[in-house]
């Protein structure tokens, strides 16, 4: 049995935040029906890299979903969507706020069609507030949320996080919100609206930067690889390369001095005696540590860290990550065969449930692959009806 067996998700989302959230639901067995614009489909079908004409970008976040083409700007398309909503459990959309309402498909419209429907919306700025109608992509949210202002080399420029956390974090919040709403529907029988703003989602991930700014009254800046309040917690040069070390407690700090660099007296040096002092004097400390590490090869340093139990690791590039034995043992790269594009590896499922584990249901769909199957099931349409709608540009 799959955890979300019997749950139908009507998925109007495009590109990344929404599709990421519905991919998680599909991996746990939900029937995710992706509604796409006829002819063009999800914008990300045109995002590189491509295998032949198929976008590997699109394929990587739309596995296990069905694809139905439907023009929601047309009345007939809207009515067909409502027929689907009658039998669905969840609808997810990431249009700019106001769009669904203009199509008579907003939450207030759809709850009259199905009062138990869970309506999840993920948008740049959310369904309320002065920026609500503004458009956004990941980079806009990374910039405006402050996360870029914290990322980059110390003293250097702000950098975008190299993966689209402006979509992925809000996508995770959306999936969490949908599961909360499904849980509540089991308890109360009632549906509700789940409103997630990408902007809010990244602000909720700013972590201690908010507290630091208020307490220290200094605007936080990029710090390279070091942590703002835990030291040593950084990358360090050994004789033949870089290693990251996180000695995040007093005990680990003392072990580092005693057992890794054989300078037990350093642990009680007033400059470094507690976490606050180590952070204050991080430059001096890094110099001392790197002077010691520069006499060790990576292999010597790693083995000393290993023995003491101090968290450490290499800065892996993607080729190394894809060969990692731990990730292989955890099925974190799954090969999926697509009927057109062939085989490719994708990230696996990072939530391991003992009783109802997730699994990948199918490759990503070709545009409109399930239009007939789905519209027949939800609206009783025949092949002739579909051909007629296709002629009119509605499917």
């Amino acid at each position: 049995m799959k955890l979300l067996d019997g749950i139908t998700v009507v998925d109007l989302t495009r590109v990344l935040s929404g599709p990421y959230s519905t991919m998680l639901l599909a991996d746990f067995g939900a029937d995710v029906i992706k509604i796409e614009a006829p002819e063009s489909g999800d914008d990300s079908r045109n995002f590189a890299p491509f295998i032949g004409k198929e976008s590997a970008y699109f394929m990587s976040i739309n596995r296990g979903k069905k694809s139905v083409t439907l023009d929601l700007r047309k009345h007939e398309g809207q009515e067909l969507l409502k027929k689907m909503i009658i039998k669905a459990d969840v609808i997810v959309e990431n249009y700019r706020p106001g769009t669904m309402e203009r199509w008579n498909l907003g939450y207030e419209d759809l709850r009259t069609v199905n009062p138990k429907i869970i309506y999840a919306a993920v948008s740049g700025f959310g369904h309320s507030g002065p920026y609500s109608r503004k458009p956004a992509y990941d980079i806009v949210i990374q910039a405006m949320s402050g996360i870029m202002s914290l990322t980059g080399p110390e003293g250097g420029p702000s950098c975008r996080v190299g993966t689209s956390v402006g979509d992925i974090i809000p996508g995770l919040y959306t999936a969490f919100g949908i599961m909360m709403a499904l849980y509540h529907r089991n308890v109360s029988g009632k549906g509700q609206k789940v409103d997630v703003a990408m902007f809010d989602g990244l602000v909720a991930a700013l972590e201690n930067a908010i507290a630091r700014f208020q307490v220290e009254q200094r605007v936080p800046k990029p710090l390279g690889n070091r942590h703002p309040s835990v030291t040593p917690f950084d990358s360090f040069s050994a004789k033949d390369g870089l290693v990251v070390i996180g000695a995040g407690s007093q005990r680990l700090w003392e072990l580092l001095c005693k057992d890794v660099i054989a300078q037990p007296e350093l642990a009680s040096d007033p400059l470094f005696v507690n976490g606050e002092n180590r952070t204050k004097n991080h430059k001096e400390l890094k110099n001392i540590l790197e002077a010691a590490f520069s006499k060790m090869t990576l292999s010597e340093l790693t083995s000393a860290l290993e023995k003491t139990g101090i968290p450490h690791g290499p800065i892996n590039s993607i080729d190394r990550v894809m060969e990692d034995p731990q990730l292989r043992a955890r099925d974190m790269f799954v090969e999926i065969e697509h009927p057109v594009a062939g085989k490719l590896k994708y990230a696996g499922i990072p939530v391991k449930l003992s009783r109802t584990p997730g699994s990948i249901q199918a490759p990503a769909p070709i545009l409109g692959q399930h239009t007939y199957e789905v519209l027949q099931k939800f609206a009783g349409l025949t092949k002739e009806d579909i051909a007629d709608l296709h002629q009119k540009g509605i499917v």
Copy 2:
């Protein structure tokens, strides 16, 4: 009514990944009982910044929880924990795999005490595989997962993401996994184990880097602020400062040429005619765009972008973020008064539910603040019993 009313979460987690996940559950009404080591408590109680002796780091992720001190290394502490598990719904722990088993508190032990218990574990590398017992902190996971290898200035060093996404993303997966397990328990009456590895969680957030590497056979590197497969999607200099622009579709690209820089012919230049070519020729394109933008003030450029509907925004520092009117309108900064530390603002709740909204229940607890209240309720202990246990160092 709160969504998680009646749900008891026994929370053995420390520092960030686990506490982040249980904070989300507390915000939606779960009774989260944080178990801490007597005397020392959660390591993050010693993380800067401090207000007096209270850690603002700790306070920022432990609001709305109760604190009970209990020494789980001692038999009496373990037995008291089991008494709590009998009446609890969820236990969350982020010890190194093997630790809970050594204390006779692993999933196999606890399910015999309460077969409906949901046992969630978040660890560096997960509860299986060759690295399972290795320790990890955020920086180790950021480094090993490949996310650092994608982040930083183009041609420059890899950078740590300036907020602990190595904890926060897995924390979100854990909260999502717990909600899935609670949903399944409603359907089936059965509990289960939720096993989340920080390593797996970040790999699942690598997005298109995995597909790019396989298709292009080139190891992805840091790209500064630009996107690897969508162009223009970067920061740009205007006359008096930087702005980020995400023109992520063909339509937006054409609008940018026509209505923002008044060079409609650029849209059909073969070098830039489609997304793939724009990404290939990103340097030339950035030069052309910045030559045009350099004649405009930020205010002129922003207003032109605004009119066309092209997503854009400033690179905000944390002080600007905290003043943002949209975030204020969405209650994304909430002031909480702590009995010892006084008032401080924290990030609000980024999942807005229409029927069962979240809210912040209480400030973060003082170490052991609820020991008596909780142990009286779950184990029938009297004040004398607690005093006795305290003498023995168990609470």
